[in-house]
Symmetry: C2
Subunit: 157 residues, 2 copies
DNA sequence: AGTGAAATTTCGCGGTT
DNA sequence: AACCGCGAAATTTCACT
């Protein structure tokens, strides 16, 4: 992984549909070289996928909440995590330090639906209590933290 | 927005680099129709972008934390949010209900760097206190919640 | 890493229902 | 309105140097 790879990654984080030709122009490489590098980055597990991002409110998911999951004394973390994963409303799941086992991000259509989802969460075996933080607005999300890899390409060659 | 649009969106959430031809085969439409629909979805702000997802640990960002931001009495939320956004380590920022104004997700290389980042957060004007939850493992993240739009295409035509 | 070439895709446009 | 086919330009994706 060199500086060129990092520049390619940065560009693909900004625009996941950038063409190889376009990326090549950005970093100063031929399309086929970019193609090869990207293939290696994917194979190495550096790039794990490409996803369209959808405005949740436009698809009827206007309510977001962060929910801390307090486990019972006897809970098996992996089983709880799996059960959390089986709920489509649970978008992300982090195992955390502290007296909560997990923090999950939940996305639903209405507060009514949020209430129902919290019920489902509490009914999971191994879940003792939930602590819900309602999101009022998402200021920014999943922002690419491009560790200073945004210098323009060289020209002299 | 009809069922076809939702199917296209679902497919693009799974694979943001799917070609229009491929999407057309998936949903049973011509490439040009898909092209037109996707263009409209983008223009309507339903699809807000396409991003490559990178395994953070492979790019030296192995430490994740969720940080609650307690504001001072006189804090201006928008100013605080903007200041949070100026830190590259802050990947997401949610304004929340409760006695914390924001919850942010922070991604850094080491716990040392986390400590420095928390210092930067506390030094922001309008920030009274921070409450940090260290992420031990990410079980899943940014999972596409495809509201049951995954039926296969029809064949009889 | 680059070149070259064939297969594929993009994307605007006209025509159809 | 939405869909499709057409076709030129661009891109992808190889094998090869």
């Amino acid at each position: 992984m060199d500086a060129l790879d990092r520049r390619i990654i940065a560009a693909l984080r900004l625009n996941g549909r950038a063409t190889y030709a376009e990326l090549g122009r950005t970093v100063g490489l031929s399309a086929s070289s970019v193609h090869e590098r990207v293939g290696k980055l994917e194979a190495a597990g550096v790039i794990t996928g490409y996803h369209a991002v959808v405005d949740p409110s436009t698809v009827g998911l206007g309510v977001t909440a962060l929910v801390g999951i307090q486990p019972t004394d006897t809970a098996a973390d992996d089983d709880v995590a799996e059960a959390l994963g089986s709920l489509v409303e649970v978008e992300s799941c982090y195992a955390v330090a502290g007296d909560e086992a997990f923090v999950v991000k939940v996305r639903v259509s209405t507060v009514d639906e949020l209430e129902r989802t919290l019920g489902r969460l509490r009914r999971i075996d191994g879940v003792a209590r939930t602590r819900t933080t309602v999101v009022l607005s998402t200021r920014f999300e999943a922002r690419p933290n491009n560790e200073g890899l945004d210098e323009p390409p060289e020209e002299g060659a």
